[in-house]
């Protein structure tokens, strides 16, 4: 049975590099191109939350340490 997880993204800290999107195995994330943070940058958001398994790939590759990963306590 797949683990369950979710992430929180610091939208001001996110720089919209898209690397988390690229490396999420379950396509949970996407850049929100319709908005920018106060630095004028798009930021990542969860668009497919259910699919998140808390694998931490996104937080690992996030250069700016903008992602907190939560996982269902087993």
């Amino acid at each position: 049975m797949a683990r369950k997880g979710y992430v929180e993204i610091d939208t001001e800290g996110c720089k919209g590099c898209n690397l988390c999107v690229l490396h999420c195995p379950t396509d949970v994330l996407e850049l929100k191109t319709s908005d920018t943070n106060s630095y004028g940058l798009h930021y990542a958001v969860m668009v497919n939350e259910e699919a998140c398994n808390g694998c931490m790939n996104c937080s690992l590759v996030c250069p700016d340490a903008a992602i907190t990963v939560y996982r269902q306590a087993s």
Partner: protein, 259 residues
């Protein structure tokens, strides 16, 4: 942030990374490596034992982000500065964090001689094949044919030579205990990168000699591409010339000798 019920935090920003937006461009691996290093400082509980030396290069401000004692060195002199630190504080864990211009161009002599002396500190070498900070000039590690602001028609190896493979070069020195090239192009490699740095720190603490971690890194701004494209470029262009791997590991040799 409190976790939703039934959930717990499994990954978060390390407490040793200061709460400050890093100035690096989006997707730049300088940030990634900073983060990994500070995770290690947290996990290994070495905040009071570690002293870092940052270079002149994009990472010149590393001390603004890493919550550890640090010194900012002159361009190319991080290895000399780290030598000064380590020789005065032999019980501390010392690292120099350097770019390719810094370590392999202006700092060549300092790099080579620190390695040859086996200075017992750790080099973190961010090889992004370009001078990021000054706006994308050719570096000693710029690939053949790669365009930069000072090689606008592509690096001409007949005129300026081939890119230098530092991890391999330093592995030749007796004084070097560990040399590995890693990258951060995907989660697995990122994990490997962190493990390599950890191993280097541990070997340093054992006093085994110089430890050298080269990160095949990116520079989306200097390369004039997106972070994603930079990952592809590393995989397709850099890694064939700068292969990942361990080029020296005296602990392995010892084991062999024992066996």
């Amino acid at each position: 942030m409190t976790a939703r019920e039934g959930y717990k935090v499994v990954a978060k920003r390390p407490s040793t990374l200061l709460d400050k937006r890093m100035h690096y461009c989006p997707g730049c691996f300088h940030s990634t490596v900073h983060k990994l290093m500070m995770e290690l400082v947290e996990e290994m509980e070495i905040q009071d034992k570690i002293v870092g030396v940052c270079p002149v290069g994009c990472s010149v401000f590393a001390y603004e982000y890493m919550n550890i004692d640090m010194q900012e060195a002159a361009h190319g002199r991080a290895a000399a500065v780290a030598t000064g630190v380590k020789r005065m504080l032999p019980d501390k864990l010392v690292f120099s964090y350097q770019g390719d211009g810094d370590l392999a161009a202006i700092g060549t002599a300092e790099t080579i001689h620190a390695c040859n002396r086996g200075e017992n500190f750790t080099f973190i070498f961010i090889n992004n094949g370009i001078y990021g900070m000054t706006g994308g000039q050719m570096a000693p590690t710029t690939l053949e044919g790669q365009r930069t602001s000072t090689s606008p028609y592509g690096r001409d190896v007949a005129k300026v030579g081939y890119p230098l493979r530092m991890a391999e070069m330093v592995a030749n020195f007796e004084g070097v205990a560990y040399s590995q090239r890693v990258t951060c192009t995907n989660p697995a490699e990122t994990r490997r990168c962190k493990r390599a740095i950890k191993k280097a720190f541990e070997m340093q603490m054992k006093g085994l000699g110089t430890t050298f971690i080269e990160v095949a890194s990116n520079c989306p701004s200097g390369w004039k591409c997106t972070p994603e494209e930079s990952v592809t470029w590393i995989e397709d262009k850099m890694l064939p010339y700068f292969p990942l791997g361990v080029f020296k590991d005296v602990t392995k040799k010892e084991k062999k000798a024992e066996a």
